[in-house]
Each structure stands twice: as structure tokens, then as C-alpha cells.
């Protein structure tokens, strides 16, 4: 019987502990992640897999729903993207995180498309890894300035594509038309936050600049991810498919 671990793993009666599955072909890296997870009071170790085959086998057999999946993309028998897709399809509550050496846009965006909700750097300190996982479960998806820039560029092209037919008619109030269209895709605040991230500001700095709480900033990013996922699924905006963010209930 499948039964989510988080209901059974309550600590102090308020804080949940999250079960972590690691898919990584390098045994030393596996050991490092295991140590990182074991060290965190908020996480517990479910197991690890060294190949795509093994990971999918684990997912097929498990009686415990993994809360978090750490996946390396470069596996000896395939790509970690397949594991992400498999896990999200089987367990909607599972939130995959990509383990990336470089956190580069190409790999991260491809992972988001497959269903990942964030990424961690392989060279991060053990406590940072645990920290990122917990934050992610609390609703904070990481986003680098490079990725924010890419997302903004996508939105601009989507806007100009959707605006183009109406431009001639609404020449008198292009600003108003722009705002309206923009709101449909991205709220003004979200756009603002994304722009500041692209310019290198941290969440905390953005919160200070805009008179918001850090949590609100994180919520904006989370919402933004949700919107990206919705738009990525719309056939009309096929361009956004690359930015696809699968919905993750829970």
C-alpha cells in the first residue's frame, strides 16, 4: 500500500520531514548527498539509484511516495529527464530537483519542461543542499538571473506575437493594450520581480526595494512558475513549450 511518508514523519508535531530519493551514477556524489540529507533534521533518506533503469524500478516498486527526487541528468543508460517524467507521472506530490554542476539554462529549462521544480548545484555545501530542498518544499523555487532573463525574453516575444494583430487598431492607446496583454501572461508585480532578478538582485533586496516580505517575493516566483506551466501547456503558445513547468499539486 502506498502511503505518503510526510503524514507519518511529523517531527515536533508541526514540522514535516521529507523523504528524499537520489538518482546519481557517481557513488561518491551519492554518498555526499546521503550525508547531506542525513544531517538535516527536516529530511530523511529513502534510497538511491545509479542508473535510469534502477531508478524507474525503484519508483515502480516503492510503497513510499518520495517527497523529493534529486536527479543527475547525465546517467550511464540515459537521461535523468526520463526519471523526472516518470516520477511526476506516478507521484504528483513528488517534487524533482535537478542536480546540476553548472546550473546552466539549457539543462535547467529542459528539466523544468520535464517536470522539475528547481535545481541544486553539485558543488554546494552539504547544509546548502538540505537548505535548498527544504526551501523548495516551503514554496521557494530558485531562479538564476540568466534563467529569469530567458523567461522575460520569451514573454516579450509571446506578447509581441499576441499584440501584433491588434496593434494597428489600438494605435491610440498602445500602453493600455500592452498592460492588458501583459497582465494576461504576467502580472505587473511578477514582471517587476523577474526583471530585478534578471538584473542580479537577491530576493531579500527585491523585498526591501519593493517594500514586500521575502515570502511574498517567493510567492511571486512560485506563481510565475505556475503560469509558465499553464502557458507551456497551451497549444497556441507552442513557443513556451520549452519553458513548460508541469503542475505539481502539493
Amino acid at each position: 500500500m502506498l502511503h505518503p511518508m510526510n503524514t507519518e514523519a511529523l517531527d515536533d508535531g508541526t514540522l514535516r520531514r521529507w523523504g528524499v530519493l537520489v538518482v546519481e551514477d557517481d557513488s561518491r556524489a551519492r554518498a555526499f548527498f546521503e550525508a547531506s540529507v542525513q544531517r538535516s533534521p527536516r529530511l530523511f533518506w529513502l534510497g538511491s539509484a545509479g542508473t535510469v533503469q534502477e531508478a524507474r524500478g525503484w519508483l515502480a516498486r516503492t510503497t513510499t511516495i518520495p517527497d523529493v527526487l534529486l536527479v543527475d541528468l547525465g546517467m550511464p543508460d540515459g537521461t535523468g529527464l526520463d526519471v523526472i517524467r516518470d516520477a511526476v507521472a506516478r507521484f504528483p506530490g513528488c517534487e524533482p530537483l535537478v542536480v546540476s554542476v553548472f546550473g546552466d539554462e539549457e539543462n535547467v529549462l529542459a528539466s523544468i519542461e520535464a517536470g522539475a521544480v528547481g535545481y541544486i548545484h553539485k558543488d554546494a555545501a552539504p547544509e546548502d543542499i538540505a537548505q535548498t530542498i527544504v526551501e523548495m518544499k516551503a514554496g521557494a523555487s530558485p531562479i538564476s538571473p540568466m534563467i529569469a532573463r530567458r523567461v522575460l525574453a520569451k514573454y516579450r516575444s509571446l506578447q509581441s506575437a499576441s499584440l501584433a494583430p491588434g496593434m494597428a487598431a489600438s494605435g491610440a492607446a498602445p500602453e493600455a493594450a500592452f498592460d492588458e496583454n501583459e497582465r494576461g501572461l504576467l502580472s505587473a508585480r511578477e514582471h517587476e520581480v523577474l526583471t530585478l532578478i534578471a538584473r542580479g538582485f537577491s530576493y531579500a533586496e527585491i523585498a526591501r526595494l519593493k517594500g514586500l516580505s521575502v515570502h511574498t517575493v517567493q510567492t511571486h516566483i512560485k506563481n510565475l512558475y505556475g503560469k509558465l506551466a499553464v502557458h507551456s501547456k497551451s497549444e497556441a503558445v507552442f513557443e513556451a513549450t520549452r519553458l513548460g513547468l508541469l503542475p505539481h499539486p502539493g
Binding site: R199, G200, F201
Partner: protein, 618 residues
């Protein structure tokens, strides 16, 4: 080709012979035809020439010029005929040819007057056949007398042909109307045809202008001569329907003879151009005999008419036919030597026309036959048809050629397009290769300056055995950070300093945080820096990385501040720390070199508590 020409020639000869045979057969004498009509052949004639009056029996046809050597005079024919009973149906008199002016009496009653008998050299009614209806009561059973009085001009084909008297139905509807159609209507149609062909030729001559190599405009002579020939011929044939010419007979007669000669000479000039003789300087003289033909005709016809001695013109026409015959012979020889369809057509028409001309000369000018018409007037149609065929063939050839040119042009364009596409593809390949080469160079340089140098220094540190693991770790982290920055730089838009700083912060902040250094971010939005290409962007990354690394390693600072702003067009970047400072004069050379390489002005100021490394662009 030659065989065909021969066959056609023999065909025309056969036609000639048949025509001559028909002439002989006409002298048989059926007096009364089955339909009741009577052909009148015998009678009495009273002539008055040069004041001498003679009376005697006459046998029709009566060819005045032949009988009186072209002298003008008066004649009165009395043609008796006998009827068994007075006819009950309307009768009429058909006279195929009579002239020049005359009156018709039957049994003493004047039926019809054509022209003024008292004036000579004026009207000419010999051109069209005549039909005179007979009032019913005039004809009686027994002997009747048809009297025709006429005034004959010289050389105008005066005289009287055989006369047919009979019931109106066969005489008028069969004999008269068909003769009228041949002589009068035929002339009108021939004139119209000649005018149409002549107009087409003239229009072609006026419009079809070649601009020669020297820029001189050149028209095609064959069209001009064809037009002239056809117009001459139109006038000449039109004469057949003009009973009362606008000029007195002598000038009119000279004009008609000149038109005939003009037609012949123009037709020969047409051949002259068609055969290409016009382009041969040694054959230019051929034009002179043709001019002589026209001039000689004018002189001879004037003599003949003025002196009223037709023999002058008859003689000259013989010479003219010989000249034209020789000319046509030359043309036929030239055609046979180098046959082509155009010349072949014209050669046949010319041969036929010469043959007809000879026949006409024999029959009209020499023989006693009266009532015959010329054949040449029909053979002239061949010239018109030949000309039209030539024009059609030329037009067809030109349009085929034009289509060929269009197709060739389209081929050429397609060929050029293919070549262009090929060249373009090659250029694209070259550009791709070049881009790949640049990329390879960039990666190699990157590895050499970044990861490579860090790893080799890590190895040196390990080998020296004097390094702390802290230092070693830093070197390796530097190496990995350089790698990340290198990957970021791949996607950095050239000139976008803001994006470069944001990525740099994202990569380096964890280390600043780990080192316990507070980070201040004062980056305003700055415009793109034009002179920074992909390579320069990477150099700027190195530069800033080095500046920040220096702060991390040596400054012992607690705050690191990054500033970016725009002063007019100048973009300024600053790395500021509150560390212990260093001697600003001893800034590492690499820093200066990199700044110089990307066109940035580097300013370093340092004192304990505030060190500023500033880069300015633009």
C-alpha cells in the same frame, strides 16, 4: 524542290496551251442556240476613217485597231436576223464588248446611247459588257435589223464582238451577268485585293524599322516595292470599271501604261530585294533596266497615242516582256541555286505572270481576237499571296525566335539563381566554419586562461606540499566558478553588461557569503556597450572575477560593493571594498592588459578602508 518547281511550270504551260485551243474553238458557228437565242455574226459595215467612207460585208468580231491600224473613226453595223414569230417573252441584246462610244438601234428604233458620238478620246464603254433590253413590240416575225453605230478611238480596243439576241432569261441571267461578274466585279475585287495587300506592305515598310549597327535606320525594301507594285496594279485594274476617265484619253492611256510598267518594274524590284541582290554592289546595275522599262513605256505609249499608231506600244511591250523575262529568268536561276520557300513562291508567281504577259501581248496586241480580257490581272494575285505568305512566315520566324529568346533568358536566369544559391550555400558554409573556428578558439582560450590555469596551479600547490587545504579548495572553487562563468558567457548578449554582472553575482555570492563579506549591490540599468563582443564580454568577466578574487583573498574586507551606472553615454562599473588597500601603482599587469584589450578605461584608487577599481566604457 526542283522537281516541284518543274511540275508547276509544266502545269502553267498546259493552262496556256488550253487557253490558246479555246481561242480556236470559239470560231465554230452555231447560229441559233437551243434556248432560242441567236448569235449575230454577219452583217454589213459602213466605216468612215480619215474622211474615207467604205461599205461592205462584215464578219464579227470586228477589231477596229486591227482593221484600221489604230486610226480613229466611225462605224455603223447592220446585223440582220430572222425570227419565225414575234416573241412572247421579253428579249434582250447582249454585247460582250463594244466601244468606245456607241448607240444601239433595233428596226430603226434607238434603244440605247453610250457616250457622245461626236466627241473622240473621252468616254470608253468597251470595258464592261453591255445588255440592252428589247421592248416587246419591236421584234417582228421575219427579218429584223440590229444597228450599232460606234465611234472608235485609237488603241482603246474599239470594235464590236459577236452579239447575242434572245429571251432575257438565258441571255441576261446567264451570258450577261456572268460576263459582267468576270469583267466588272472581278476588277473591283482585284482592285480591293491589291489595295489591301499594298496597304499592308506599306504599313510594314513604315513600321518595321531596323536600327543598324551604325545607328542608321533601315527599312526593308521588299515591303516598299511590294506596296508600290500593288498600288500601281490597283490603279491599272481599277481602270476596268471607269467608263469615263477623269483625264482625256491620251494622258489617261499613258498613265495606265505607266502603271502597268510600274507594277512590273516594282514586282521585279521586289524580287531584286528578296534575292538579296540589293546587298551586292555588283548587282546594283540591275535597277537600271527596270527604270528603262517604266520610262520606255511612258515614251512608247505617248508616241502610240499621240500619233494614233498602236504599233509603238506593241513593239515596246515586246521589248519590255523580254527585259522582264530575262530578269525573272535570273531570279529563277538564283532561286534554284539557293532554294528557299519565299523565293520559290515568288519565282513561280513571276514565271506565271511572264507567261500570262506574253499570252496577253499576243492575244490583245497582235491577234484579231476581240472580246478577250487580260490574264495577267489574275496572275497578279499570286504576287499578293506570295507577299502575304512571306510576311506570315517572317512573323512566325520572329515570334518563334522571340519565344526562344524568352526561354533562353529564363534558362539563364534559372542558371544564375542556381549559381547564386550555390555561392550562398558555400558562403554560409564558410561562415559556419568560421563561427565554429571562433568558438573553438574561444573555448581553448577560455580553458587556458580559466580552468586550465587554476588546475595547474592546484597541482603546483599540491606538489609543493606547503599549501593548506583551504588554499587548495579556493583554487579548485575558482576553477569551477570560472567554468560556470564561461558557460554563462555563451548566452550573454554582446554588450549587455547588466546581464554579465547579474550572472557574476549569482555565481560568486555564495563564496562572499561563505567568506563573511557583506555584499552591496548598486547596479542601475545601463545601456548596451557597443564595443563589447562575445570575446570582450568574456574578458570583462575575467577582469571582474579577478578584482573580486583579490578582495576575497587579500583585502580582508567586510563589505564588497558593486556599482554600475551611466554617465551620458559612458557606462561605469566599480568594485569597491573597505579592506586594507594596496599600492595602487602596483596593480597587476594582467588587469591593465585585459582592460586595454576590451577598450575600457581602468582607474584604481586604493587607501586603507576604500579601494575602488573602476572600468569605464564609451
Amino acid at each position: 524542290m526542283l522537281a516541284r518547281l518543274g511540275a508547276l511550270l509544266s502545269l502553267w504551260l498546259a493552262v496556256l496551251v488550253t487557253g490558246a485551243a479555246g481561242l480556236g474553238a470559239a470560231s465554230a458557228e452555231p447560229l441559233q442556240a437551243a434556248d432560242g437565242s441567236i448569235e449575230l455574226r454577219h452583217g454589213t459595215i459602213t466605216t468612215s476613217v480619215d474622211g474615207i467612207t467604205r461599205t461592205g460585208p462584215v464578219e464579227l468580231s470586228y477589231h477596229w485597231d486591227r482593221q484600221h491600224r489604230g486610226r480613229p473613226g466611225l462605224a455603223s453595223f447592220d446585223l440582220p436576223f430572222t425570227l419565225a414569230a414575234a416573241p412572247e417573252t421579253p428579249w434582250g441584246i447582249f454585247i460582250p464588248r463594244v466601244g468606245n462610244v456607241f448607240e444601239v438601234q433595233l428596226n430603226g428604233a434607238l434603244l440605247q446611247v453610250y457616250g457622245d458620238m461626236s466627241v473622240g478620246n473621252d468616254a470608253d464603254y468597251a470595258k464592261a459588257p453591255i445588255y440592252v433590253p428589247v421592248p416587246g413590240h419591236l421584234l417582228t416575225a421575219g427579218e429584223n435589223h440590229l444597228q450599232i453605230r460606234l465611234h472608235a478611238d485609237s488603241a482603246r480596243r474599239a470594235g464590236l464582238s459577236r452579239v447575242v439576241v434572245g429571251p432575257a432569261t438565258p441571255v441576261r441571267t446567264e451570258l450577261f451577268e456572268s460576263a459582267y461578274a468576270w469583267r466588272f466585279t472581278g476588277s473591283v475585287l482585284l482592285t480591293a485585293f491589291s489595295l489591301i495587300v499594298g496597304s499592308i506592305a506599306l504599313a510594314l515598310w513604315l513600321t518595321q524599322v531596323d536600327t543598324g549597327a551604325v545607328g542608321r535606320q533601315r527599312r526593308d525594301g521588299i515591303y516598299f516595292w511590294a506596296a508600290l507594285a500593288e498600288f500601281c496594279w490597283a490603279v491599272r485594274v481599277a481602270d476596268g470599271v471607269i467608263a469615263e476617265p477623269p483625264l482625256p484619253w491620251v494622258p489617261w492611256g499613258v498613265l495606265m501604261a505607266a502603271c502597268y510598267a510600274g507594277w512590273a518594274a516594282s514586282a521585279m524590284m521586289f524580287c531584286y530585294h528578296l534575292a538579296g541582290w540589293a546587298r551586292n554592289p555588283r548587282l546594283q546595275w540591275l535597277r537600271w533596266p527596270l527604270a528603262v522599262v517604266v520610262a520606255g513605256t511612258v515614251v512608247a505609249s505617248t508616241l502610240a497615242l499621240q500619233r494614233e499608231q498602236p504599233v509603238w506600244l506593241t513593239g515596246w511591250l515586246a521589248i519590255e516582256i523580254v527585259i522582264i523575262g530575262v530578269f525573272v529568268g535570273g531570279f529563277v536561276v538564283a532561286t534554284v541555286r539557293r532554294p528557299n520557300t519565299e523565293q520559290m513562291l515568288v519565282a513561280i508567281a513571276a514565271l506565271v505572270t511572264v507567261a500570262f504577259g506574253m499570252r496577253d501581248w499576243l492575244v490583245i496586241r497582235l491577234s484579231d481576237a476581240y472580246g478577250e480580257t487580260t490574264w495577267v490581272r489574275y496572275s497578279s494575285i499570286f504576287f499578293g499571296i506570295a507577299l502575304l505568305l512571306i510576311v506570315l512566315r517572317r512573323f512566325h520566324a520572329v515570334s518563334t525566335q522571340a519565344r526562344g529568346w524568352v526561354a533562353a533568358l529564363a534558362d539563364r536566369v534559372a542558371q544564375r539563381e542556381r549559381e547564386l544559391a550555390l555561392t550562398y550555400a558555400e558562403l554560409e558554409q564558410v561562415a559556419r566554419d568560421q563561427a565554429r573556428t571562433h568558438e573553438r578558439e574561444r573555448i581553448l582560450r577560455d580553458m587556458h586562461d580559466g580552468v586550465g590555469s587554476h588546475i595547474s596551479s592546484a597541482i603546483r600547490q599540491l606538489q609543493s606540499g606547503q599549501t593548506s587545504s583551504e588554499e587548495l579548495l579556493r583554487t579548485l572553487r575558482d576553477s569551477l566558478d570560472q567554468l560556470k562563468l564561461s558557460i554563462d558567457s555563451i548566452h550573454l548578449p554582446p554588450g549587455d553588461v547588466g546581464a554579465l554582472l547579474a550572472a557574476l553575482r549569482y555565481r560568486l555570492e555564495p563564496r562572499l557569503v561563505a567568506a563573511g563579506i557583506e555584499f552591496e549591490w548598486a547596479v542601475e540599468e545601463v545601456g548596451p556597450v557597443q564595443l563589447l563582443d562575445a570575446h570582450a564580454m568574456r574578458q570583462l568577466q575575467f577582469l571582474l572575477f579577478e578584482a573580486i578574487s583579490n578582495v576575497l583573498q587579500h583585502a580582508q574586507a567586510s563589505v564588497l560593493r558593486i556599482e554600475a551606472d551611466m554617465q551620458g553615454d559612458t557606462v561605469r562599473l566599480r568594485v569597491i571594498d573597505n579592506g586594507r588597500g594596496f599600492d595602487a601603482l602596483q596593480v597587476p599587469r594582467a588587469l591593465w592588459e585585459r582592460a586595454g584589450a576590451i577598450g575600457a578605461r581602468l582607474v584604481v584608487e586604493s587607501r586603507p578602508g576604500r579601494t575602488v577599481v573602476q572600468l569605464a566604457f564609451g
